[in-house]
């Protein structure tokens, strides 16, 4: 059981307020959708949850452990934020294996399984620079879900994906939710967001303006 709590989160960068007094709670076994215009603060909020961005005020806690006080990064998290960046001279599988080895709790079979789940072939000898945009996006999703972390944060996961791939990703996310993972996604496609999310959080100008519960996918 995972609980992520954001209390009074604010962030200012170069005197520009990015996030303002955000209070949210997330629980495992649910998919939370973030929606809002470009530049409203969705990505920055996701970065804050991942520990990549340190809030100017407020706290992020995961099961009671406060980020940057008790732990630096969430202990079990996978994230796809903006454009995934991998090493262009290695295959997708090799890229994920290198990252998995840093985390030490993910073996090669888990890497291969994550790739297969998003319809990528771990045996594919093509290097990352030869991947299409959709394949790069899928590799980013595979990186986020490999090892099945407790918290999965995905920023625009279905960008550049064809219809079949979108359906596959949706299946994966629903399956992960059923197995009690906490998933936070941002998506511009209103239909897909409403289909997937148990709760949609609307953000405007760095603040939460609306939270609505949706039907279960």
């Amino acid at each position: 059981m995972i609980e992520v709590e954001l209390k009074n989160i604010s962030k200012t960068i170069h005197k520009t307020p990015i996030l303002h007094d955000i209070n949210l709670k997330f629980h495992s076994g649910a998919i939370y959708g973030l929606k809002g215009k470009n530049g409203c603060g969705k990505t920055m909020l996701m970065r804050t949850i991942c520990g990549l961005m340190i809030p100017s005020a407020g706290t992020v806690s995961i099961n009671g452990k406060v980020l940057m006080k008790d732990i630096e990064f969430p202990e079990s998290i996978g994230a796809l934020i903006e454009n995934p960046a991998f090493l262009p001279q290695y295959t997708g599988y090799k890229n994920l294996c290198m990252l998995a080895s840093l985390r030490s709790d993910i073996d090669k079979e888990a890497v291969a399984e994550a790739m297969r789940r998003v319809q990528l072939d771990p045996e594919d000898k093509r290097v990352y620079r030869k991947y299409s945009l959709g394949m790069k996006q899928k590799l980013g999703i595979a990186n986020a879900i490999m090892g099945e972390p407790d918290i999965i944060v995905l920023d625009e996961p279905i960008n550049a994906l064809d219809e079949a791939s979108v359906e596959q990703v949706k299946k994966v996310l629903v399956d992960l939710r059923e197995r009690d993972h906490l998933i936070i996604i941002a998506c511009h496609d209103r239909e897909e967001l409403e289909y997937l999310s148990d709760e949609i959080i609307e953000i405007k100008d760095g603040t939460v303006v609306c939270k609505q519960k949706e039907g279960v996918a």
């Binding site: 960068i13 970065r47 991942c50 520990g51 990549l52 961005m53 340190i54 940057m68 630096e72 990064f73 998290i77 994230a79 934020i81 903006e82 995934p84 960046a85 991998f86 090493l87 290198m98 990252l99 080895s101 840093l102 985390r103 030490s104 990186n143």
Partner: protein
Amino acid sequence: MRTAKMFWRDMCLGTFRHGARFLIIPLVVVLMTAGFAEYAANLYDAGTIAGSGTAADYYLCVMQGMYIYKFSPDSTFVIPISWFMLHIGLAYLTAYYPCKDYNEYGAIVIPAGGSRIRWWIAKMFWCLMTVFLYYIGIAITCAISACVHGAKLSVDFSVDLLEHLYGDSMNYVSQSDMILISVLLPFAISVLMTEVQMLFSFLFTPVISFAATCGVYILSAYYTCWWLPGSYTMWQRSSYINYEGVKPMSGFVIAVFGLLCVIVCGTLYFQDKDVLD
């Protein structure tokens, strides 16, 4: 363990992948030792010296730098090009990778590694190991050059040969002192320079940091003083060789103090840094 894995990743991506840049070493060594080999051979043929030199002599030739420059209207200052190329080659090798890795892959690698400080420490070890490999490269290339020119493969320097080149003071310097001022001290200062350059590349930009490093080396060649670290990389400027030279102990103090500052400043800088693209 994670730090070691990040360090190994840095070695593969930041050093081994750019192995071609180490070619500056044989280029400089060949340029510098060609004239030295001919000079040693002439002295040997004339019976002035007992042997045609050793690998250590070749190394000392490459690492000599320049004599203490004293400004005078009659003498022109000329940067010792080979010495400069060697040290700038090392600076270039370590100039861009840390910033590039942070900007392009930091958002993925740092959380995977679990800690910003762990990432920074891995980078510092990467810097240290790259300098170490660079100096190993210099030593091996000098040894090969010595063999090619018929010199002995020995770590003992030839007093008689070096006396001809650098003066009587070579008679009074022991083997261990020469190792101190030509190997250990230049290595320590090179580590300091590259670590400071790496830190500055984050505080400013890699280009500014690299330019500043070049500037410090040029100033060091012009001015011989204890607070310009470049002089400590030229064993000719040691107080063991020239009474007006820089004291080796000062160099070690600067290296240790400087590295501690880099560790502390880097830790303070990265511990609260947002990992943004």
